[in-house]
């Protein structure tokens, strides 16, 4: 089931009497293709949870429409939309066993959809097997670990075979090790069921690792949408560039002059036909190449060995931040006896942004 957001807007009245409305979601207009796993990504307060609530029908939009396939579901109450939702704290009913928790949505069905007891049991079993908790059905939620509770929540969301599965920060309550394991699990379950899945997260790594597509948001405004690698390689603006990637992109104050990108008086990169003006120069950590004759001279701070790679920490007066982090292959040795280090840069790892609007300035074949 594809999901279409059609100029969707949600305004909340301001807390204080005279303030203006808070726009949580501002004119969202995009399509989520059928059967894909989509990550809604952004810092807290960017409107991603509101978007999720709009899609599942817990909140009504101020403007715009929502389509599930060919159905206009904008004003439909949640139970008629056919959505399953996993809440951030799982919202498992503490007084019911796992079995009864998973069965709960089925018992709500009425009329022609009503299921017999055997059918319900079978559906519960199937969902429980899918998330591999079929041995734990008679426990109470409080007797389970966080990861197990998470699985129960997913099973409960899937048991009524929803058209769209929604997950709100599904991994935020798990410890680091479980997080890795669970995100693979979510990816597997999504592939097995083929249900269109939308999940919300503030963790870019999480979103990048399992999504077919990510939607980057900030302050209620859609920043960019695309495949994770495409968005990483080709950020639309400075915010997206900074938000994606660990370690984060290094941003320098620079300018374009006569077809060259300049940082201070260092000629970093030839970019051809670009208008002369001040810019932000973003260089990915892996975009630096160790080169004694490289144009970018930095003050060497320290070298961190990470096994496969080496991380060079350095300073530069034009840097918009504390330190530069460059990731270089471990076989390239840094001469630590000197207190400076020189780099040249890989052109496709360098992005230029307008100093004022912070929008991307494209150059070369990019």
């Amino acid at each position: 089931m594809k999901v279409v957001l059609d100029h969707l807007t949600k305004r909340f009245p301001s807390r204080d009497k005279n303030g203006s409305d808070v726009i949580a979601v501002n004119d969202f207009d995009f399509e989520i293709p059928d059967g894909k796993l989509i990550g809604l990504l952004g810092p807290s307060g960017c409107g991603k949870s509101t978007t999720l609530n709009l899609i599942c029908g817990l909140e009504a939009p101020s403007d715009g429409k929502i389509w599930f396939g060919e159905d206009d579901v904008t004003n439909l109450p949640p139970e008629h939309r056919g959505v399953g939702m996993v809440f951030q704290n799982y919202a498992l009913y503490p007084h019911l066993t796992v079995r009864k928790n998973i069965m709960f949505p089925l018992q709500n069905l009425k009329g022609a959809d009503k299921l017999s007891k055997e059918e319900m049991e079978a559906r519960v079993m199937k969902a429980a097997k899918l998330v591999q908790i079929d041995k734990l059905l008679d426990r109470k939620p409080s007797e389970m670990s966080g990861g197990q509770q998470q699985r129960v929540a997913i099973a409960r969301a899937l048991v009524k075979t929803p058209r769209v599965l929604l997950l709100d920060e599904p991994l935020s309550n798990l410890d680091a090790r479980l997080r890795l394991q669970t995100r693979e699990e979510i990816s597997r379950i999504q592939k097995e069921t083929g249900v269109t899945t939308i999940f919300v997260t503030h963790d870019q790594e999480e979103a990048m690792s399992i999504s077919d597509m990510i939607v980057v948001m900030k302050d209620g405004i859609l920043q960019q949408i695309g495949k994770p690698q495409d968005v990483y390689d080709d950020p639309a603006n400075l915010f997206v560039a900074k938000f994606l990637g660990t370690p984060p992109i290094n941003v320098f104050e620079g300018f374009v002059e006569n077809g060259w990108v300049m940082i201070g008086d260092e000629k970093i990169l030839e970019v051809g036909e670009v208008e002369d003006k001040p810019v932000w120069v973003g260089i990915r950590p892996e975009g630096f190449v160790l080169d004694e004759n490289g144009p970018l001279t930095c003050e060497l701070e320290r070298v961190e060995v990470m096994g496969r790679d080496t991380s060079v920490v350095a300073r530069h007066e034009k840097l918009a931040g504390e330190t530069i982090r460059a990731i270089i292959p471990a076989e390239n040795k840094v001469d630590t006896s000197k207190n400076t280090v020189n780099f040249r840069v890989k052109s496709f790892k360098v992005h230029l942004f307008d100093r004022e609007s912070e929008e991307r300035i494209y150059f070369g074949d990019k």
């Binding site: 060919e70 159905d71 004003n75 439909l76 109450p77 008629h80």
Partner: protein, 294 residues
């Protein structure tokens, strides 16, 4: 889930859901307004009757819901015919003295339990807690005899003394005191602060919200107390407002002067209503934090 793709059906469902919600909302508001009316009506009636003149009140076989010729005569009567002013003053003295004494007693006790280390503390606290379960009705008999034996009937001391401790408030305050981090106490000790000074200058200011809540709740309790004052005073010079009201009802204005009676009731109720309007958040919070009435 029904895979109805007919947009018309979907629209119908949307509309039906909306209508249902609207109807439910109307029902809810009507219901709440109705209860609001039940709560407020006695107060309105109190006010209305108190400003009707004696003759017009008695002339209305069917009482009117408003009056065109309000009078303050009843209030004048209330203060002159019976000694309402004195009841009022007595209640203020009783309330202030009881509350002030209680605050001192419970603060000292709560401080001892929360901050000091001494032998037998846990046992003492256990006994205190178990006293919370004792109903006043059980102890009132002996207290009556005790106060009578001490010749304290018809005195303020007799009214005040039995209610200057509350195990529940000691407990509440102790819990609050314990939330203050140990480091503050250690820092104060390093600076050579005495325990008493630490209590007065650090703990009480930090726990002011709880103290205020306790004071307000105690004031309400004192202002409304009836049973004990009734037992211990039969001299009208020492009546509190509750007893005054009862006195007025039985002997005061003569049974028929309802407007004057309502004026007296009005005067008695207003201080607490004002207190409530100012502090309603604090009072409600305090009560829901673990108070039971009385």
């Amino acid at each position: 889930m029904s895979q109805v793709n007919d947009q018309k059906t979907l629209d119908q469902i949307s509309r039906a859901a909306k209508t249902r919600k609207t109807i439910l909302n109307v029902v809810i508001y009507v219901f709440l307004a109705l209860w609001g009316l039940i709560v407020l009506f006695p107060f309105y009636w109190m006010l209305l009757t108190s400003i009707k003149s004696y003759s017009s009140y008695n002339a209305e076989y069917i009482p009117k819901f408003f009056t065109l010729s309000p009078t303050l005569q009843n209030y004048f009567d209330a203060f002159t015919t019976v000694d309402l002013g004195r009841y009022f003053l007595n209640t203020i003295i009783f309330t202030v003295a009881t509350t002030a004494l209680m605050v001192v007693v419970i603060t000292l006790a709560a401080f001892a339990f929360a901050r000091l280390e001494f032998k037998g503390k846990n046992a003492a606290f256990g006994i205190f807690l178990s006293l919370m379960m004792i109903p006043t009705e059980l102890v009132v008999i002996t207290n009556f005899v005790t106060i009578t034996n001490w010749d304290m009937r018809n005195t303020f001391w007799g009214l005040i003394l039995p209610s200057v401790t509350s195990v529940f408030y000691i407990y509440l305050l102790k819990e609050n005191f314990e939330q203050i981090p140990d480091e503050l106490y250690k820092a104060a000790k390093v600076d050579g602060t005495s325990d008493m000074k630490y209590l007065l200058k650090v703990m009480i200011p930090i726990c002011k919200p709880t103290m205020v809540t306790i004071v307000i709740l105690k004031v309400i309790e004192c202002w409304n107390s009836y049973v004990w004052p009734r037992l211990i005073t039969d001299d009208a010079k020492y009546f509190l407002v509750s007893n005054g009201i009862q006195e007025i009802r039985e002997n005061g204005f003569g049974r028929e002067n309802i407007p004057a009676m309502m004026a007296a009731v009005m005067v008695i109720s207003i201080p607490l209503i004002i207190l409530f309007l100012i502090f309603h958040k604090k009072i409600m919070e305090g009560v829901s934090r673990g108070g039971t009435k009385g």
